[in-house]
């Protein structure tokens, strides 16, 4: 994972007088799953558009698999699969017709590929139905199938689980993980659902107001921001929270506690991604 697949260096982008990205730098390693986290309008979607060469940065440089999106946008778009927030399907065409159309645009030669993907995402029964009649979740799954038609090396997923039911979310999360492990696909994931991000991402990039305010693996971020571990313990007496001087103190604390009491469960509550997200934003806000 050492080789960088995507590099954005000191990117700036404005829409009129409104700055969207400012001195924005981030990297994504080959085969990595990176989560872009940030509130609405923090620049997640714009950075994906810039990387794919459909928008041009005002300053800075971008490379994707060694290509420059300004001059080699087509080569990048051939490597990339994209699921945008709205998916962008032709509602008067069936699911299968949509996939066949995009397969032609992406130069897919495997004629059975659209059908195989419809099957993979549980849409075989709806393949002859017009996309206009699909539920939000079905459109999302079809969008994912579309993004995977040409077996991309890089996958950009903007809110891939929005509108999905719990089974749909589970299916998408498992598929993303499997795809990354099996094919080594590099994945950039934007989502507000932090628990799901935590399940799949190797690394995170935190955005705020068009700037990268932090990036790193969970362990790196935890080491930087969590100085105190809060352990929620369930015993016969009930549930209690204990403040410890870091996660390394947990084993000794639990050894000592289990000698005195019956312990039914113990969870670190302030070290999940959500806690990190708010901590990082709080620190960035202070700075």
């Amino acid at each position: 994972m050492s080789e960088n697949m995507i590099e954005l260096n000191h990117i700036s982008k404005r829409f009129g007088n409104h700055p969207v990205l400012t001195d924005f730098s981030m990297t994504v390693g080959r085969g990595e799953i990176v989560g872009l986290l940030g509130p609405n309008g923090s620049g997640k979607t714009t950075s994906i558009r810039l990387v794919n060469g459909v928008m041009r940065a005002d300053a800075g440089s971008i490379t994707v698999a060694g290509y420059d999106p300004v001059h080699d946008g087509e080569a990048i778009r051939r490597l990339s699969g994209i699921l945008t927030e709205t998916a962008g399907f032709y509602l008067n065409m069936t699911g299968l017709e949509n996939l066949r159309f995009f397969a032609e645009l992406y130069g897919v030669t495997e004629t059975q590929r659209p059908l195989a993907l419809l099957e993979e995402f549980g849409l075989t029964d709806a393949k002859e139905k017009k996309v206009g009649t699909y539920s939000t979740g079905m459109k999302k799954r079809l969008g994912l199938a579309k993004a995977l038609l040409h077996r991309p090396e890089i996958l950009f997923l903007d809110e891939p689980t929005n509108g999905l039911d719990p089974e749909g979310i589970r299916m998408v999360i498992e598929y993303i993980t499997r795809l990354n492990r099996r094919d080594g696909t590099t994945i950039v994931l934007c989502s507000h659902l932090l628990q799901q991000m935590e399940e799949v991402c190797h690394r995170y990039v935190f955005l705020q107001g068009g700037r990268v305010i932090e990036q790193g693996t969970h362990a790196e971020l935890e080491a930087r921001y969590i100085k105190e571990a809060t352990l929620r313990v369930e015993t016969r007496a009930g549930v209690a929270e204990h403040k410890l001087p870091g996660r390394q103190a947990v084993p000794a604390f639990l050894r000592e506690l289990t000698q005195r009491e019956e312990v039914f469960g113990a969870t670190l509550v302030n070290q999940d991604l959500e806690s990190l997200y708010f901590k990082i934003r709080e620190v960035a806000g202070r700075e």
Partner: protein, 276 residues
Amino acid sequence: MNKQAMWAIAKKDMKAIGANLQVWLPMLILPALLGVVLPGVIIGLTAFMSMDSPDMQEMAAWVSKINLGPISAKLAAMTSLNQQIAFVVANYMLAPFFVLIPLMTASVVSADSFAGEKERGTFETLLFAPVDLKSLFAGKFLASFIPAVGLSLASFVLCGITVNALGWKLFRGIFFPQLNWLPMILLVMPLLSAGAVLANVFISAKVSSFQAAYQMGGVLVLPFLLLLVGQMSGVLVLGTGALLAIAAVLAVIDAILLQLLLKNLNRTALFESQVR
């Protein structure tokens, strides 16, 4: 040029026209009205009305004033005034209809080409595909050009059947079309369609809604309406020479429009034109 993608886009758009009654019905009504019903009524009246009626007398006077050049001798050889009027009306006065038909059918489809994609939220997906803009524009061009020329030719054939059937009583043979229609059908009609499509596709790429594209594109029809008035009033009769000259001018205009379009191809600008 990515021909596979170009034809995929063209086929997808043409299929969408066929699937949408609100689009293809108006597209059929205009050619049917201008290409079949109106010529049929005019020729029917000239064929069956008595030359004693004041209207026919007026028309006969009108035909005698028009300078038809080489055709005048052919007219002089005709045995009845009804024949002369029907012949002139069919072979000369209908020409502007076949200018308006490709122009207006091309405008409806091409105004929707990019603006429709923007309105439906599908343009972003198209721009994210690894398709060069020339192929994308070529696909959109064909999706408008093929139906426009196809409908115009079909309405011309139907016009021919109607006119000859109604004029059979007078001529006992086929009197329409004469050779003067060749430059009209083979040159003017396709060149005009191409120009209308290029202009409308260009406008459609720039604006964000179909309505805006259609209204702006509609301005293109105005000069040709003057042509219609000129021809119908006998002020301007388009002979073979005039049609060849018009075809040459149209070819130049088309070439300029194409250059302009190719010069302005810019994915970023196109993308930003649909961001709301």
